[in-house]
Amino acid sequence: MTSRATLTFTVNGRRRRVTVPPMKRLLDVLRDECRLPGTKEGCGEGECGACTVLIDGRTVNSCLVPAVQADGAVIRTVEGLARGPGLTALQQAFVAMGGAQCGICTPGILLSAHELLARSRGRVPGDPEVREALAGNLCRCTGYQKIVDAVRAAARSARPASGVRRRARPAAPGARRAGAKRRPAGKKLRRRTR
């Protein structure tokens, strides 16, 4: 017997409607139904952070979120980080400073760092604060120092146009819709991801 539920949510500004088993992992819904493979599976038990996405502005391990709890949520994956044609200041800093090696942990780390920068609102977080904020993301290439450097560099250089600093507080209801309105076409997103 298979039970299914029809769920509606927003991913990277685009409304989605899926009919899936209610306990299917959000990670699998994003990769299978939404065709967004930027979100990776690492451990599958909430330890490694590779599957990190934002729900209503907050990071979650998408391997531990049942699809049913995504109903009505505003979700952001790594594909939806950049809003314009270029990369965000955070992504640029990762490229410039060697913050990505094999790349499997990178999408999750970008989202955790994005949450940190949104939380610190223009302030440059110290090294220990960055490490604490990224503690739920494991990098098996162990490139941590360059990752921390890249996050701090992005905080220093964050410009309003980058979409990093200008995010309102993550949980603020107003912030959710703002993203959705500004980018109606989801199909543009994938092009930007390398």
């Binding site: 038990e45 909430g46 049942p66």
Partner: protein, 298 residues
């Protein structure tokens, strides 16, 4: 394993009353498993280690959300997340031991999702917030269609992962009185690393010296050293009414060894846990009053 996820049924109650109705099942029928933030339950499901087929999703229930504070204490809705707890300005001032525990549960992704009610219900002897709740004299609020019930946290666990809950009861809130003024709070988790790891030993404490310079309030609570989170009654008794001194600390440490019963397991072993538990107690006492470490507070 994962294919089996497609056979699981989830009810989505409109409100708490509806949820309580869903929890009421005929004798012999499967008790539905309440689902909150899912950070423990989904791990069990992904590993094929949860037998239940029916779930009640509590995540959308407003009645179980939020943190309320008054003069006397705080009331955490069962769905209050650890992020909400660690970011709450008043809790940071008045319940630092709980806030410290919240900040060391998993990583941010877990803290954004994991709830205090879920941590209590999961009943792991290593649950990080549990010693803090116990040391802070928390009470657990339960509801069923039959009514409401409040039980002291200290009598919640009857045995390993065995809660004193009826099958149709849901945890609705955890209430915590603010400790007496001038008390010192402590929380320390020892694991392989600070984030994500499951504790080898975890401890929370509250201690106050009265106007006469003697201990007039002491709570010592532990995780990962027994089948259940536990108060160290003998160590507390050794400290009650005494003035801080190295000898008092030594007596408390000796008494603690009879309070706890750690085991060898995948994360650590008995001897290590006994040694670390003793060290944590001394660390707490030293932080609470330096005279516990040195006779004249050098």
């Amino acid at each position: 394993m994962r294919a089996a996820l497609s056979t699981l049924e989830v009810s989505r109650p409109r409100d708490l009353a509806h949820a309580l109705k869903l929890m009421q099942v005929a004798p012999g029928a499967e008790r539905p498993t309440p689902l909150a933030g899912g950070t423990d339950l989904l791990v069990y499901l992904n590993a094929g280690a949860h037998a239940g087929l029916r779930f009640v999703d509590l995540w959308g229930l407003r009645e179980l959300r939020g943190i309320r504070t008054g003069r006397e204490g705080a009331r955490l809705g069962a769905l209050a997340t650890f992020s909400e707890i660690r970011e709450h300005a008043l809790l940071r001032r008045r319940l630092p031991a709980l806030v410290a525990a919240a900040a060391e549960v998993g990583g941010r992704q877990i803290q954004n999702r994991a709830t205090v009610g879920g941590n209590v219900a999961n009943a792991s002897p290593a649950g990080d917030s549990l010693p803090a709740l116990m040391a802070l004299d928390a009470t657990v609020h339960l509801r069923s269609v039959r009514g409401e019930r409040v039980i002291p946290f200290a009598s919640l666990y009857r045995g390993y992962r065995d809660l004193a809950l009826a099958p149709d009861e849901l945890i609705t809130a955890v209430a915590i009185p603010f400790p007496p003024p001038r008390s010192r709070q402590f929380f320390r988790k020892v694991g392989t690393r600070r984030a994500q790891s499951i504790s080898k030993v975890v401890m929370a404490g509250v201690l106050r010296l009265g106007r006469d310079g003697r201990v007039d309030h002491v709570r010592l609570a532990w995780g990962s050293v027994a089948p259940v989170p536990l108060r160290a009654g003998r160590a507390e008794a050794a400290l009650s009414g005494v003035a801080p001194s190295p000898a008092a600390a030594a007596r408390a440490r000796a008494a603690l060894m009879d309070d706890i019963a750690p085991i060898d397991d995948i994360r650590s072993d008995r001897d290590y846990r006994l040694a670390v538990a003793g060290n944590l107690l001394e660390q707490f006492l030293r932080a609470a009053d330096p005279r516990f470490a040195h006779a004249r507070g050098r």
